[in-house]
């Protein structure tokens, strides 16, 4: 790292001048894998957009690295009954253009998100909000159609001004710790410290977010000193190398994503849960996690993330058991009666297609490995690999798949991985799974306000899911952050990959 000497000199000069602050450098360059699609927090749909919008704007609450909701723009809140939440805003809040931030702006933000024609990607997370009222300038009341426990995990979404003339997507205005200085589409975003954030200005004056699409190129640019910070997604071998390098600062946490197999439960072959169990027993999680992902992820045992309050290690999906799988396939009547090495039943050979998308070489490799395991169990397994849009919207989301390997991210609440995905007729239930008992438990998990009751509902639902397997969770994704310790001061990494903990603010 060529720049080290110079940043060292700069740091020494700062110290000599009696400068305070944890950040060693007043300018910071972060590498990102994609450009933001928009900077309107309500319309953000990619990681860079979330992270940058979370600097330009601020939400009612802030989510800590442990996903606890703490006051941000809201100073406090109370819940007079199960379906009402009343927020009190801090005094004297302003947007970066100087206009005051009031209850009207909060109402405007959520009403636009809920407006169907506005097409907010996260609209589904807020639909239990029935109406909003401004009690006074600093007090806003949320009326819910039913108790909705996960709400607070989503309220960090940025508040936008209700009377802004400019284009929020391109020239955003918010009440967050930084303001947008310039944006060169596809290559870099430059942010500068805001003087209007309620908690004061961040320690970093200038933040540059630079887009380097290729994972290896981003790692090399970090090594060459062109980037001060990089984070997931990175290739496993780069992660191993940086984690072992003492000159590199590293934060390796459990992430908020899973990699899983989506079984199409409406497929004639896969309708029977026992068939799905047999296939699940052919998934060698250890090899996928430790060899293909080189140990950067963690072997999963259920649909609840280990970082969640609802996690229970006693809930256990089937594990790798080649013989058990073969025995179960025999029991189901799939035997190799004609001696061609492929199991068959009533003259039909057992053929299964496993699909994933081409952008992630580790997923492609995992699917090819699964194909080999399926084949050695006598299944005529084929692989289907296409680019992400063809795979997701053109295939899995149409329910055309048999077995698909993909992931879910940003699971800030257990609800987010199960409700839309596994309730009967749910909008994201691409595999057509339906179980009235699971429906009831997931509804209970969403509406119970007592965390123990919620945890209990999710544990029971997870137990059924681990047996019936509409989803088979292969791994819990890890999150990695690497930084140049001489360029950064105190770092508070968050599994969501937010930037606030890098600019000297709570992560």
């Amino acid at each position: 790292m060529k720049t080290k000497l110079w940043t060292g000199v700069a740091a020494a000069a700062l110290l000599a001048a009696g400068a305070h602050g944890a950040a060693a450098q007043d300018s910071l360059t972060i590498g990102a894998d994609v450009d933001a699609g928009t900077l309107d927090p309500r319309l953000a749909r990619d990681t860079t957009a979330y992270r940058v919008a979370n600097l330009i704007s601020a939400g009612l609450v802030h989510l800590t690295p442990n996903l606890e909701a703490v006051p941000d723009l809201a100073e406090s809140w109370e819940t007079p009954d199960d379906t009402t939440v009343v927020f009190t805003l801090r005094e004297g809040l302003t947007f970066s253009d100087g206009s005051p931030l009031t209850a009207e702006d909060v109402i405007y933000t959520f009403e636009t998100i809920l407006d169907e024609s506005f097409n907010a990607p996260q609209r589904g997370l807020f639909t239990p909000i029935e109406s909003l009222e401004a009690v006074d300038d600093r007090t806003v009341q949320f009326n819910l159609s039913a108790p909705y426990a996960p709400l607070f995990s989503y309220l960090d979404i940025g508040i936008v001004p209700s009377d802004y003339d400019g284009d929020m997507a391109l020239e955003p205005v918010g009440a967050g710790p930084m303001v947008l200085d310039s944006w060169t589409r596809g290559s870099e975003l430059v942010l500068t410290a805001s003087d209007s954030y309620w908690a004061g200005a961040p320690e970093v004056d200038t933040l540059v977010v630079r887009v380097v699409g290729d994972n290896s190129a981003r790692a090399q640019a970090f090594e060459a000193g062109d980037l001060d910070v990089i984070q997931s997604p990175l290739s496993p071998n780069d992660i191993q190398r940086f984690a072992a390098d003492e000159a590199v600062g590293s934060e390796i946490l459990a992430g908020l994503g899973v990699t899983y197999l989506n079984f199409n439960t409406t497929d004639p072959l896969l309708q029977d849960p026992r068939m799905r169990q047999a296939l699940a027993m052919l998934v060698d999680q250890e090899t996928i996690v430790n060899q293909i992902y080189e140990g950067v992820d963690q072997v999963a045992n259920s649909i609840i993330l280990p970082s969640s309050w609802a996690y229970d290690e006693a809930v256990q999906q089937p594990t790798f058991d080649m013989e058990g799988a073969m025995a179960m396939l025999d029991d189901l009547g799939w035997t190799d009666s004609d001696g061609d090495g492929i199991r068959d039943r009533d003259g039909t050979p057992l053929a299964i297609e496993i699909a994933t998308h081409s952008e992630d070489p580790n997923r492609v490799q995992s699917v090819e490995f699964l194909q080999a395991m399926f084949q050695s169990a006598g299944i005529d397994a084929s692989v289907r690999i296409t680019d992400w849009p063809s795979f997701s919207s053109g295939y899995v989301q149409q329910g055309e798949h048999q077995v698909a390997l993909l992931g879910w991210l940003r699971i800030t609440d257990p609800d987010r991985l199960v409700y839309g995905q596994l309730t009967t007729g749910g909008g994201l239930n691409w595999g057509g799974y339906s179980n009235p008992e699971v429906d009831r438990l997931l509804e209970a998990g969403r509406t119970a306000l007592d965390q123990d009751a919620r945890a209990d509902a999710y544990r029971r639902a997870a137990t059924i899911i681990a047996e019936e397997l509409p989803y088979y969770i292969i791994s819990y994704q890890g999150y990695q952050l690497f930084y140049d310790p001489e360029a950064l001061g105190e770092v508070e990494a968050s599994p969501r990959g937010g930037f606030r903990g890098l600019i000297g603010m709570p992560g």
């Binding site: 990607p121 589904g124 589409r185 290729d214 090399q220 919207s393 053109g394």
Partner: protein, 326 residues
């Protein structure tokens, strides 16, 4: 001559129509639609259906294609679905970076390719010849993204001589600043462009060097070369002045074709070196299924390519007086 140029320019019109129709059909055939990409993985089917209607994706194909042509006739390439800005503006903003990269790569490729080709032909089977042919073999078989990563690893990570990613000031601006006595931006711009241009150029340099070598070997056996030598002209002038001028003809025509290959290669090079040009834009537009933007980029690439081919044909006539353009 003027007639010829006008006729060639008129041919652009059917070509553009063809390009638009072919791109449109390809986009119809690949699955995945911008509405669902735009709304993300957590979108509901109703939301996607509503957005498809808003974007006009539910209209029959002939309505969409016809509408696109109508707008194109008025010089309007439509709006990008994702960036919510006119396609022509987005492309124009990035065109300079790609043309700069491709041009520098082409100059590098021609300079290196011609020099090595001539030197190799001068002593067939000699050390330079063997070395050049080995280099050419490597250059032709090495994928550009692999070479790019290797160059970055060597010159940016290990040696630390050059920056790994990004672009400095545009070269013309930097050049103007250098002329007014401020050379720093020019040095910065050149240091940024060297690695991407070199990785982009190697393949073309390899092809050009092989072509020049073969063509030179042929010309060197011709009578007029022997005559020149018999008249007592030294080897150097014979090669560089007499033989090369004749050997360059096939090279000139291949340069036009190489420019097309360079534009294609720029898609990978730009992605790796975070070069803010059309190539980087192409990748993101395709992965987002941003149909108007993809159409616009393909059309722009095609027009650049057609223009370069036309220029090469004109150059051909200038280099070889035997050719008359009709």
């Amino acid at each position: 001559m003027t007639d010829y140029i006008i006729r060639r320019l008129l041919l652009f019109i059917p070509m553009a129509i063809g390009i638009v129709v072919v791109t449109f059909c390809l986009l119809l055939l690949i699955p995945g639609d911008p509405a669902s990409v735009l709304l993300g993985q957590e979108a509901t089917p109703e939301g996607i259906a509503a957005l498809r209607r808003t974007l006009g994706l539910d209209d029959p194909w002939y309505v969409r294609l016809g509408g696109y042509f109508l707008n194109l006739l008025q010089g309007d390439m439509g709006r990008s679905i994702f960036q919510n800005a006119p396609v022509s503006e987005i492309i124009f903003d990035r065109l300079g970076a790609t043309i700069e990269l491709a041009t520098v790569a082409l100059v590098l490729a021609v300079a290196v390719g011609v020099t090595l080709g001539v030197l190799a032909a001068n002593r067939q089977g000699g050390i330079i010849d063997t070395f050049t042919m080995l280099l050419a073999q490597i250059g032709i078989s090495m994928p550009v993204y692999w070479l790019a990563l290797l160059l970055m690893l060597a010159f940016a990570v290990h040696l630390g001589w050059l920056p790994a990613i990004g672009r400095g000031e545009p070269l013309p601006t930097a050049l103007a600043m250098a002329l007014t006595g401020n050379p720093a931006p020019l040095v910065d711009s050149l240091s940024h462009i060297l690695l991407p241009a070199a990785s982009l150029a190697l393949n073309s340099a390899a092809i050009i060097s092989r072509l020049v070598r073969t063509s030179m070997l042929e010309v060197l056996r011709e009578d007029f070369v022997r005559t020149a030598a018999a008249k007592g002209i030294r080897r150097g002038p014979v090669i560089w002045r007499h033989a090369l001028r004749n050997a360059l003809l096939p090279v000139v025509s291949v340069i036009g074709l190489r420019f097309g290959a360079l534009l294609g290669g720029a898609i990978l090079t730009e992605t790796i070196f975070a070069w803010p040009g059309l190539g980087q834009l192409t990748i993101s537009a395709i992965s987002q299924r941003d149909i108007p933007l993809i159409q616009g980029i393909v059309l722009t690439f095609a027009l650049i390519y057609a223009t370069v081919t036309l220029l090469v044909d004109l150059l051909y006539a200038a280099v070889d007086p035997r050719i008359r353009l009709r």
